[in-house]
Amino acid sequence: MSTERGRIQISGFDTDGIEDQDSLDAWSESEADELESRWRKIVSSIVRDRLALGGFAVVAVMSIAALLSQPISVGGFTVQPFSIVPYDPTQTGVGARYAAPSLSHPMGTDRLGRDLFSRVVTGGRYSISIGLIVTALAASFGVIYGSISGYFGGRVDEVLMRILDVVFAFPGLVLALILVALFGGGFWPLVGAFALVGWATYARIIRGEILKVKQNEYVMAAKALGARDRSVIFRHVIPNAIAPVIVQATLSIGTVVIGVAALGFLGLGFDPGTPEWGTILDAESDTLATGAGGTWDWWATVFPGLMIFLFVMSMNIIGDAVNDALDAQVDDIGGGG
């Protein structure tokens, strides 16, 4: 670009104008290429990070296993016919009560003789799908809210931010717990509760980014050209401020998974007997009280918790890698400019 500097052109006076048009096209194309290569760079830096790749593999295996564990039907119509777990997770008496892990029951059985492996693999369904849906909902709403606040500034910003302060005054888990306690549990109420609690973080992050981006000349240029606010926000401001939101979204899936399991553990959210990680732990937690010298049926509490831990750990490793990748991007741009 620097070679172009100082060259003043008055279009319509010479044939170079047509050439300029061409070069402008080329320029905007190269911007698209740059954006694409930016994503490719992020992906390739994650692939190079072996740990992150391992985390991704764990998340993928657990999610797919949970999806295929039992058939899913929507309104009487079977959408997913596979059933890869060895036993029906809610079927009692498929083995002895508290049978230790063996070949036929890799994770042992629980107090009603249900197969823990089948329960734990299926259990991922609840937490993982709620984590994904909540993150999508909360991030979309939070980004719109925060963008409006940051872009318009002034009194709008002041009012919207005070509302945000109120949301932040309640610890997320406590607010979700109270919402579920007041409105009842189940899949969609849990989604609603965690989405209502989660959006505020995204709003705060994107607002901060937008305050920075707003200073850039291309935003002023777009405004000066008469672009409408909505198109400035969606086409120019958000795409340039979104990176930290992506990092937060990756990390927040794990937080929601733990939150859902915590409510399950507290006996809220799901019916007892539901093969959900936290609910299983709640039901089996009395196996700890063995008395002095008693044997501890450790598998009943170790495996469900280990699954939550593995999934969240993998998700956080991915989040860290995405963070590093995006940070590297910012450094690159800074260094190149």
């Binding site: 406590v174 399991a261 553990f265 936290g278």
Partner: protein
């Protein structure tokens, strides 16, 4: 801006937030389907409708919502949160009895977090990209990822039940006696783990950043021992970024208390909240929610003031 002026402005800014917290809490009670009289009628269908109307009048439920809110706020401001239906005790008496237990647990969690995170973060930053840093990064990541209820169960199973090092029963002594420490260690470690891990990561990042700055090179160049450079100069600046997340970490400890107290049978506010939820004790739920909100607004206020004390530039930005 002078510090006094900053603190005053910051306190004034908290007032609308506190007001909002009370409105949200009150609204939660009123958007749920059915009021207390509906519940009574559901429990005893023989109540005639004129009796239900009389009860509504008595409870003030026939008034406009804003009148009800003002009535409720008047009670709250004079410390009257109503009574617990099942035991007829004052809600405020129950909350005050449980509060010290939760504060003791939370403080223990905080102290544990600081004792682990600050040295851990310094060690990781000084040995950046070496084996020790990688190991501590992995440990911190595990601390963030482990569900606190499961960690609590596992600690209890191994150290209290199997090894019998710690008591498993509810605390038997008064809160301030030294032997209370035995009851506090396991739940305190459980509640502090996530905060410790979070703080350690922040400490490592900010310290590694500070170490690259020119004043560090200057301090080293003038021949100061590395120990002095790190503990006197770098540490102070790195701690500033830890204070910015102190309020956030406090909120996570408060949320953790709900779960951890239930796991360990700790007689604090968190367990009281869960019991209240299961018994649908609306007055108690509201009081604990409101109290939690006020406490976190206060924690935010304190964190900002400490931040402004440590870094005078902040005062002007507000």
């Amino acid at each position: 801006m002078s510090l006094q002026k900053f603190i005053l402005k910051r306190i004034l800014a908290s007032v609308p937030v506190l007001f909002g917290v009370s409105v949200v809490t009150f609204a939660l009670m009123h958007i749920t389907p059915g009021d207390i009289v509906d519940q009574l009628v559901a429990a005893n269908p023989n109540v005639p409708s004129h009796e239900a109307a009389r009860l509504r009048r008595e409870f003030g439920l026939d008034q406009p919502v804003w009148v009800q809110y003002l009535d409720w706020m008047q009670g709250v401001l004079t410390g009257d949160f109503g009574e617990v239906y099942s035991s007829s005790r004052d809600v405020s008496a129950v909350v005050l009895a449980r509060l010290p237990e939760t504060i003791a647990l939370g403080l223990f969690g905080w102290v544990f977090a600081i004792l682990i995170a600050i040295p851990g973060g310094i060690y990781a930053a000084v040995n950046k990209d070496q084996l020790g840093d990688t190991v501590s990064r992995f440990v911190a990541l595990s601390g963030i990822s482990i569900p606190n209820f499961w960690l609590g169960l596992m600690l209890m199973a191994v150290f209290a039940v199997q090894l019998d090092w710690f008591p498993t029963l509810d605390p038997q002594t008064s809160l301030l006696s030294p032997s209370m420490l035995w009851w506090l260690i396991l739940p305190g470690v459980t509640i502090g783990t996530a905060a410790a891990a979070n703080m350690m990561r922040i400490m490592r990042t900010s310290m590694a950043e500070e170490l690259n700055k020119e004043y560090v090179t200057a301090a080293r160049a003038k021949g100061l021992p590395e120990r002095t450079v790190i503990l006197k100069h770098v540490l102070r600046n790195s701690l500033i970024s830890v204070t910015t997340v102190a309020a956030f970490l406090t909120a996570s400890i408060v949320a953790g208390s709900v779960v951890v107290e239930t796991v360990f049978g700790w007689p604090g506010l968190g367990r009281e909240l869960i019991d209240a939820v299961h018994l649908r004790e609306i007055n108690l739920i509201l009081a604990i929610t409101l109290f939690t909100g006020f406490f976190i607004v206060l924690a935010n206020l304190l964190a900002d003031i400490v931040y402004a004390l440590l870094d005078p530039r902040i005062r002007d930005e507000y």
